[in-house]
């Protein structure tokens, strides 16, 4: 159980402390976008294409406009002044189709926004949308499948290009032909990670308000990146950036899906400015599943080469990324992250990967929790198990043989990344010990004799996070923090990250309470408003603590140093003679003064030290030199019901190393939630399109996200290998669970099924799919 935040008896950092955020969230007093109400506010709803590919011949809005309460209808023509939805990809071969906020002459996927109806309430806006008449000319040929879309005769999604290739990307290292020539054993497999709907419980939503006097547009959006959104909205709406303010109020989950710049955000701004009323748009769940950029959509053909003794030599990869109808912000970048992480935690040097992004008549894909790393880890951790099976080696021993040793760090991976620190065998051994590996193998032998399908699966994952060095990120990878000590000694921290459930209000309060010797309740953490926090990048890529927290740390040090100058001046001493600990400045001759007294003096400036400016405030920026590389070992024990194909996860052991930890309670929460989002695609989740491009999983009845009953009890623990790259020693935890869990679950199920000769089963491993595989084998 967590400790309440009372008086300070020991450092707050490192303790399981319940959150500062929670009182508003558990009493229903938090303000999410849909809770915002402005005087005279209108609502809009979006009309979306029912066709995966069609020409728009005409749009007739007259019947909608006749409806009482309807104020306007917007079509692509009305939004022609708005700039395109941005894509940050920049590889030389990249094709970026013009992406207007509303379709103009053509739609590219089911759900493509076509028009918007503005009305006095949301019911009337929906009624109006139903009355807009669009004359479509549906195209007979649809590029609905990413592999087929690469075929020579495939219909083209974008007729202006000769084929459906969105980009190609190649990476290699070592000598892969030599590695395969020298190999004793090679294995290969095709792996598909289906499209996933990120599905934060709060859908997207926007409120836009235009102040004509100040010429200021305020956009309240459920976003992870208010500052980046502000810049992009200014560009899209052709407005001076300092007249745009973005506020991310309480945000009900994101998982990457709100780390984007969405058509509806600029559309809301346009409508608010033209209709001269505040306007609100709240996405329906159906829209969310249909169009919020799907994660994954990743097909890999992999070959792995090894010596008989288990030494891995090299890897060949051919990857297809389903792009969808057009790009969103980071669409083409995500699969390149997968390529970078495909060597996993192993030492082999020879590597070649060919990646092709392919346009399809489906919704765009983009980042979703893990963003490329779950795809990579799934492939490497599955193919290593397949290799172990072929070599007749224990999967743990094969991994151990190929891990870099703790003394090998910083370790250069086959794709040129520098893994900062690690002890991979240690997490694996701890996980094996916790699960009781040898005892389990005995139990499994007995179970198999009894005809039970019992399996164990191991995944040793690594991830790249703490995004990141600016030259390696598309829009800046630094972070900012401003700390202002009020005249009364209360502390405000303005952070450029934009948390939406992670709990940095608590984590940063713990840090500041320790450093300044104050109560956690004396600290407030302000985020998500570009008028209150002037600089920032946002919350994504497991960067909140490692990057945002380091900026806070640096600003705290500046505040302390400035406080020391004030304290020294008050004591008529030199700054070098003054120390600061537990909220007290101590000088020569036993003189002391408190943090609060210094804060007041720094504000009143009755005795301003020479060369020092008033106030106890500091702003710092942190630019990381490298990413951070957390790692871990997850082990699953699974049993398959031979009669029904149903999978039961009997145990789940997770040992993770995310560097130093500020609040273990919050870290456990991140891991549990992350694991659930790996279990989803392992067992339940898949966005399904029909052959003709219709979406078949448009509600939570068809798109199954895990419920409480699906989750096993997670037995978790940690090792601590501090990150050498930042003063906090923190790596990042937001995505670790999602990355580690998927292959562990699949490896366990495949192990359970292995007595039947089953070597692989595609995800999600639904009872139907498992049952079919069992039947095929039983009849063979």
């Amino acid at each position: 159980m967590s400790s309440p935040t009372t008086t300070k008896t020991e450092p707050f950092v490192g303790r399981r402390i319940r959150r500062q955020e929670d009182p508003r969230l558990i009493t229903g007093t938090a303000t999410y976008v849909d809770d915002i109400k402005k005087p005279g506010m209108l609502y809009f709803a979006v009309l979306r294409s029912p066709y995966p590919a069609a020409k728009i011949k005409s749009i007739d809005a007259s019947k909608a406009l006749e409806l009482p309460g309807v104020r306007a209808v917007y079509t692509g023509k009305d939004a022609a002044s708005v700039g395109p939805v941005p894509c940050a990809g920049s590889m030389p071969t990249l094709r970026v189709p013009h992406h207007t906020i509303l379709a103009t002459d053509r739609v590219y996927y089911v759900g493509h926004p076509v028009a918007a109806a503005v009305a006095s309430d949301r019911y009337i806006a929906q009624d109006a949308v139903a009355r807009i008449e669009v004359d479509y000319e549906p195209l007979d040929e649809v590029a609905a499948d990413p592999e087929a879309a690469l075929g020579k005769d495939s219909p083209r999604v974008h007729p202006e290009y000769p084929d459906n290739v969105a980009f190609t990307y190649h990476q290699e290292g070592g000598d892969v032909e030599k590695a395969f020539a020298e190999a004793d054993v090679t294995v290969s497999q095709r792996f598909v990670v289906p499209r996933l709907a990120p599905s934060p419980m709060e859908t997207r939503g926007v409120v836009a308000e235009y102040d004509e006097g100040a010429k200021e547009l305020t956009i309240y959006s459920s976003t992870q990146i208010p500052h980046l959104l502000k810049t992009q909205l200014a560009l899209q709406l052709n407005m001076p950036e300092h007249h745009v303010r973005v506020i991310a109020p309480e945000v009900g989950g994101g998982f990457g899906s709100k780390c984007n710049v969405w058509a509806e955000e600029a559309l809301a701004g346009l409508i608010a400015m033209q209709v001269k009323k505040p306007v609100k748009w709240i996405e329906t769940r159906r829209e969310s599943i249909m169009v919020v950029a799907h994660g994954r959509g990743h097909i890999t053909h992999v070959e792995l080469a090894a010596k008989n003794d288990g030494t891995l030599l090299g890897m060949k990869l051919n990857i297809i990324q389903d792009i969808g109808g057009h790009h969103q912000l980071l669409t083409p970048i995500i699969p390149t992250l997968a390529v970078l992480m495909l060597p996993g935690l192993y030492k082999f040097r020879s590597f070649t990967a060919d990646l092709t992004g392919v346009f399809t008549n489906r919704a765009p894909t983009d980042l979703y929790r893990g963003a490329g790393r779950p795809e990579a880890t799934y492939v490497i951790e599955r193919i290593v198990d397949i290799m172990a099976d072929k070599l007749g080696m224990d999967p743990a021993e094969l991994r151990r043989k190929n891990f870099p040793a703790p003394g090998d760090f910083p370790f250069q991976s086959a794709t040129g990344l520098t893994y900062d620190s690690g002890d991979y065998a240690k997490v694996m051994d701890l996980a094996l010990e916790r699960v009781g590996y040898q005892n389990f193998l005995d139990e499994q032998r007995q179970a198999r004799q009894d005809g039970r399908l019992l399996g164990i699966g191991l995944s040793t994952y690594g991830e790249i996070c703490a995004f990141g060095p600016s030259p390696a990120t598309p829009a800046g990878g630094w972070e900012s923090a401003t700390i202002h000590v009020e005249a009364t000694g209360k502390v405000s921290i303005m952070t450029g990250i934009s948390p939406h459930g992670q709990g940095e209000e608590t984590a940063f309060s713990q840090m500041a309470a320790d450093r300044f010797g104050i109560a956690m309740d004396d600290v407030v953490v302000i985020h998500g408003d570009t008028a209150k926090v002037h600089y920032g990048i946002g919350t994504f890529g497991s960067r909140g603590i490692a990057i945002g927290g380091t900026a806070v740390h640096l600003a705290m040090e500046d505040v302390v140093n400035k406080g020391i100058r004030f304290a020294a001046h008050l004591m008529e001493a030199e700054p070098e003679e003054v120390t600061f600990e537990n909220g007290v400045f101590s000088g020569p001759g036993g003189k002391t003064t408190t943090f609060q007294e210094v804060a007041l003096e720094a504000h009143l400036c009755r005795k301003l030290p020479p060369g020092t400016e008033p106030g106890l405030s500091a702003t710092r920026f942190y630019e990381p030199a490298n990413f951070a590389f957390p790692f871990g070992a997850h082990i699953v024990i699974a049993e398959v019901d031979r009669e029904t194909g149903e999978i039961k996860l009997l145990r789940y052991v997770a040992i993770d190393d995310i560097g130093n930890v500020i609040n273990p309670l919050l870290v456990d929460g991140q891991l549990h939630g992350g694991i659930a989002q790996g279990l989803g695609p392992a067992l339940l989740e898949e966005v399904v399109y029909s052959e003709d491009g219709q979406m078949l999983t448009g509600t939570f009845m068809d798109y199954a996200i895990p419920k409480a009953k699906h989750m096993p009890w997670i037995e978790s623990d940690r090792t601590v290998t501090p990150a050498p790259g930042n003063p906090l020693g923190a790596k990042g935890v937001g995505e670790a669970g999602t990355i580690g869990s998927l292959p562990a679950i699949v490896n366990a199920v495949v192990d359970a099924l292995s007595p039947l000769g089953i070597q692989h089963i595609d995800i999600p491993m639904t009872p139907q799919r498992v049952w079919k595989a069992i039947q095929e084998r039983s009849q063979a």
């Binding site: 009182p23 599905s199 419980m201 992670q502 939630g673 009953k709």
Partner: protein, 158 residues
């Protein structure tokens, strides 16, 4: 066509005139300004909109406001009394049973009914009891802990 309804929400009487098609969740949020009840799926799957109607948990996105006429409703705003949190709220806070908080009000009200029906549920019974409420953040483990803690606190007379 409009219809006048009377409801008792969190112990307070309200009389309002509404459209027959108005959903209870929109009535609570828009007409009464009680925005603690959230809308997650509009199709009674996710449970974010759960409120207690005559003491039973219902998904207010699939109840019409007119169906609540003459009835007693409890929402998240009514749980704390005189500034003291309800045992279930305390449980969620202490055990980190929430992250983004969007599913939390509905989840808490479902747990209220679960504990009313079964004051000391097992872990499996808790998981079954909250099956109608989706959470995308927590993986449910801390929610299970929160419910156990709340059950214990209630049994201890807290």
């Amino acid at each position: 066509m409009q219809k006048t309804i009377q409801v008792n929400v969190n112990g307070r009487e309200y009389e309002r005139t509404v459209e027959p098609r108005l959903l209870l969740v929109h009535f609570l949020r828009e007409d009464l300004g009680l925005t603690g009840t959230h809308i997650g799926c509009e199709s009674s799957v996710c449970g974010a909109c759960t409120v207690l109607l005559e003491g039973r948990a219902v998904k207010s996105c699939t109840v019409l406001a007119v169906q609540a006429n003459g009835k007693k409703i409890e929402t998240i705003e009514g749980l704390a009394r005189n500034g003291d949190l309800h045992a279930v709220q305390e449980g969620f806070w202490n055990e980190h049973g929430l992250q983004c908080g969007f599913c939390t009000p509905g989840m808490i009200l479902s747990v209220c009914q679960l504990l009313a029906d079964n004051p000391s549920p097992t872990k499996d019974e808790i998981r079954h009891g909250i099956e109608g409420n989706l959470c995308r953040c927590t993986g449910y483990q801390h929610i299970v802990n929160a419910v156990e803690a709340a059950a214990k606190a209630k049994a201890g007379g807290a």
